[in-house]
């Protein structure tokens, strides 16, 4: 299966229908902070330019706000495509935005082991592993003082059930 067909099959989106009206780009708040506009990602998929797509920061920076999909005249849900592309990039070991991937990884590992997110523990873990120890120290402290970062929090009783879901989805 070619690149375009794989994106189409995994995202279930009619990639070929994009005619570059650029409504998605016009409403995209992340576009100015990333390297490609959403419509450019679509065009590159149509052209089969997989390396440029997988090495793009846009597929990682996309916040999944669904504005593009809600406005697309051809009904293309672009955030579904962005998610499919990230999944495919991870499978190929191409991680353009390492901090975002690390955060997702730590987040999901926390869910897998506890069933819920313990915000304090997860952020401490992310800070250690990303090497970004200093930023937000004062924010973390203020949150703690306001009782917004409890040391203990309720986990899930049926932890095995949650673990099994991860295993059956081949995740984590």
């Amino acid at each position: 299966m070619g690149f375009r067909e794989e994106v189409k099959a995994r995202s279930k989106q009619p990639v070929e229908l994009c005619f570059q009206c650029q409504k998605c780009a016009a409403g995209c708040l992340i576009a100015e902070h990333a390297d490609l506009y959403p419509n450019q990602v679509l065009r590159l998929i149509q052209l089969g330019e997989q390396d440029r797509v997988f090495n793009s920061s846009m597929i990682w920076m996309c916040s999944g706000c669904e504005t593009c999909g809600a406005r697309c005249p051809n009904g293309i849900k672009i955030s579904e495509i962005m998610d499919a592309l990230k999944e495919m990039a991870i499978e190929r070991g191409i991680i353009k935005e390492k901090k975002i991937h690390l955060f997702n990884d730590i987040f999901l590992n926390t869910v897998k082991s506890h069933g819920r997110i313990h915000e304090a523990m997860m952020m401490a873990n992310y800070k250690m592993k990303s090497g970004d120890l200093l930023s937000d120290m004062d924010l973390g402290w203020k949150m703690f003082l306001k009782g917004k970062l409890p040391i203990f929090c309720r986990g899930v009783r049926a932890k095995d059930e949650v673990k099994q879901i991860f295993d059956k989805c081949n995740a984590g």
Binding site: L29, C65, A70, R116, L139, K146, C169
Partner: protein
């Protein structure tokens, strides 16, 4: 009226005041919220960015628990709401994926419960009149920018609630409690909360623009229905104006003069008390 309640992880930590005010106000409005037994995290952005089936299966487990109880489910967090609504949509419309999810989560989908955001539950189930009837201290003079963010009304075919470009439900609730919502065009712009920890330099300009536009429209404060938006708008604003960001439940509680408001409002990073005092809305 009784609904199942899925608080989500952040309502037990960074958004405690949302949880406290949501529970207190709901009870006072005659809406009993019954916490979903042994709920798990929905996987949020991290799951849908990494593994499609996982992003559907985690919320499906919660939907399976709700199905047993038979109560429609109210979700205060816009991101959690979005993930559950998406899973529910797939279970209803994609028979192949439904079968896979039933196998992964080990249940049989019946489809007897509806997923609502807490905002929708207030707007459509409690109703504007019932809210207005409980107001004892109308928030007269408080000009608010109602901020919906991304996921309460998008994608429209999945949420099926309010208008995706110009939603009004929150504005109507704020009018019902005597506050004055302003007209502005940034109601549904994304604040970038999912990048808040990993790329704060991207997020600050997004937040600044939202706050500046709210101020330009004449708002004295912003009101939200999402814990991620609320925290992000408070802590990633850079050198912007210092207008407070409320949860809608806090303001409804204030207008109903519920005891406990003092415990919620002190948890904010941008202190809302001076504004409320200046409008004589609190002593």
């Amino acid at each position: 009226m009784e609904l199942a309640y899925y608080p989500g992880c952040s309502l037990e930590a960074s958004a405690k005041e949302y949880n406290l005010s949501a529970l207190a106000v709901s009870m006072a409005l005659g809406l009993r919220l019954k916490e979903l037994d042994d709920w798990a995290c929905c996987g949020a952005t991290s799951a849908h960015s990494t593994n499609h089936m996982l992003s559907l299966a985690l919320p499906t487990r919660n939907l399976a628990i709700a199905q047993k109880g038979g109560l429609d489910i109210a979700i205060p967090c816009a991101a959690c709401y979005s993930r559950h609504k998406k899973a529910d949509y797939v279970l209803r419309h994609d028979l192949q994926k439904r079968a896979e999810l039933e196998d992964i989560v080990n249940f049989k989908f019946v489809g007897n419960v509806k997923v609502l955001s807490l905002l929708e539950a207030f707007h459509s189930r409690v109703g504007l009149k019932a809210i207005a009837d409980k107001v004892v201290k109308p928030l007269t003079g408080l000009k608010l920018a109602c901020y919906y963010g991304c996921l309460l009304v998008r994608p429209p075919e999945i949420t099926g609630f309010d208008n995706p470009e110009n939603p009004v439900s929150l504005d109507q609730i704020m009018s019902a409690i005597g506050a004055q919502p302003v007209k502005w065009s940034y109601k549904t712009d994304c604040c970038g909360a999912n990048l808040s920890a990993t790329s704060s330099s991207t997020v600050t300009p997004l937040v600044s623009r939202i706050i500046n536009m709210a101020v330009e429209a004449g708002a004295q404060a912003i009101v939200t229905a999402c814990p991620l938006c609320q925290l992000n708008l408070e802590v990633r604003r850079g050198d912007c104006a210092d207008i407070p960001v409320f949860y809608f439940t806090e303001l409804v509680g204030l207008a109903m003069d519920l005891p406990g408001s003092d415990k919620w409002l002190v948890k904010h990073f941008v202190d809302p008390l001076p504004l409320l005092r200046s409008l004589k809305l609190i002593a």
